[in-house]
Amino acid sequence: MDAQAVERALTRVAHEVLEHNKGTDGLVLVGIRSRGVYIAERLRNKIRAIEGVELPMGIMDITLYRDDLSRSKQRPEVKGTQIPFAVDDKRVVLVDDVLFTGRTIRAALDALMDFGRPLNVQLVVLVDRGHRELPIRADYVGKNLPTAVSESVHVRLQESDGCDEVVIARAEER
């Protein structure tokens, strides 16, 4: 996926979110650190351009909710969660870059429920690479990318990596 493909996919997803929710009523965005936050910001800008409405946006750090903290090689740095609005009775659109095992989303759902009781939760991902380990699916997908478990998917974004692209790295490159 190159920069143009990423851009087109996000434009389509923005329209789909608006279509599905019949507008922006009660809609809020929550980006999952770190690249989900940048994608959520872009969706917010697109929705502002389409509907003229600025959606409230939150940032979620799921480190404290992970199920693999004591198994992973390196402990990720906790950067903190900022959800500056009540999520009660809101339509919460969770945003992340890659959907893989579903464990990150499980953690994000647990974290979100600690903040209140949303009306519903929807999931946007830029890439769905398959291999789910939990019964979780995305409502809006930028691109379905069939991969082998041994491969890894790298999402690079302007905000964090200086360019927009999605590449699959083979097992031996890891």
């Binding site: 909710y65 004591s70 198994r71 090689k73 390196q74 402990r75 903190g80 969660t81 903040f115």
Partner: protein, 336 residues
């Protein structure tokens, strides 16, 4: 830089990177205490034991709340209601507790070096919650967090620490960390409570108004009446006449000075009531920040990843032999 400390025994040997990492982690945890549901599942299934051989309100409650907000189970015992009153030594008590497989033991003890002694003998993480007149690292960390929150930085700040420096573990931990992070430290107190070796730590003076002149931060210490075994000053009244922080002295400091105190306050002895409750006082912020700091300490010490656990460095400084000897509690034996 990964945080590789196994224990938190003091701040003397903690690097600037590790101090910043602790403070950054604490900052990210502050938000949890503002939530409706003040709890994250991070330390679920972990057990923290609080072992308090000295009286404590703030530190003990703060550690307990911090552990519970991280979902750890917290068990606390104090010496007065434990087998220590039956003559059990510190090491025996700790070994028995360790046999119950806690993930961390938080120790407050009247003897300097007691937590180092436990760290050398037990497997679980040891957190020093105050040892004699040595260190009180989590208090200094919450002080640093409060200063950084108010001033935006720690480097180049002038911090006046006023009072019973000699007996203060809070002062020692703060001096070590403030110097590591590039702050200027001034020590103010009666000459008898300023040991000569303190001159290596920063400017030393016995004139309160001189000591707080142009300070960014004034850190008051509690006059430790329980540790004044010998005569360090004639009377408490005389001490407070020279070293009680009043509005008049505060006026000498910078106009945006903040006033700190680790508590408990002896009102009218080391700090005037109107100063303690004044607009520049951040004493209650310190207490609030104590929770986030202790959550960060427990998180970083307990939730160590496999790789870190294998390659961990032990932060235990060499234990001073004389202090180890003094560490077991010398309590009157009673028939068990």
């Amino acid at each position: 830089m990964p945080f590789t400390h196994r224990h938190l025994l003091g701040l003397e040997h903690v690097s600037s990177d590790d101090l910043i990492h602790l403070l950054d982690t604490a900052t990210s945890f502050q938000e949890i205490s503002e939530r409706e549901i003040k709890k994250v599942p991070t330390l679920r299934g972990k057990t923290v034991v609080g072992l308090f051989y000295e009286a404590s309100t703030r530190t003990r409650t703060s550690f307990e709340i911090a552990a519970k907000r991280m979902s750890a189970d917290f068990v606390s015992l104090s010496a007065s209601t434990s087998s220590a009153t039956k003559g059990e030594t510190l090491l025996d008590t700790a070994r028995n507790l360790a046999a119950m497989r806690p993930d961390a033991i938080i120790l407050r003890h009247g003897s300097s070096g007691a937590p180092h002694f436990l760290a050398a003998h037990l497997d679980c993480a040891i957190v020093n919650a105050g040892d004699g007149a040595h260190e009180h690292p989590t208090q200094a960390l919450l002080d640093l967090l409060t200063i950084r929150e108010r001033k935006g930085r720690l480097a180049e700040l002038t911090v006046a620490i006023v009072g019973d420096i000699l007996h203060s573990r809070v002062a020692r931990s703060n001096v070590f960390a403030l110097r590591t992070l590039g702050a200027r430290v001034r020590l103010v107190g009666p000459p008898t409570l300023l040991a000569p070796e303190l001159r290596d730590w920063g400017e030393v003076t016995s004139d309160l108004e001189e000591g707080v002149r142009d300070a960014d931060v004034i850190m008051m210490l509690r006059l430790q009446l329980e540790r004044q075994g010998k005569n360090f000053f004639p009377t408490v009244d005389e001490y407070s006449r020279y070293f009680c922080l009043t509005e008049r002295a505060v006026a000498r400091a910078k106009s945006d000075v903040i006033i700190m105190h680790p508590g408990p306050i002896n009102r009218g002895v080391e700090i005037a009531s109107d100063v303690a409750d004044g607009p520049y006082s951040v004493i209650m912020d310190q207490v609030t920040n104590g929770i986030a700091v202790r959550m960060a300490v427990l998180y970083l010490l307990i939730n160590r990843s496999r790789a870190e656990a294998e390659g961990a460095t032990d932060s235990a400084a060499p234990v001073p032999a004389a202090e180890v000897e003094a560490a077991p509690t010398r309590l009157r034996r009673k028939a068990g």
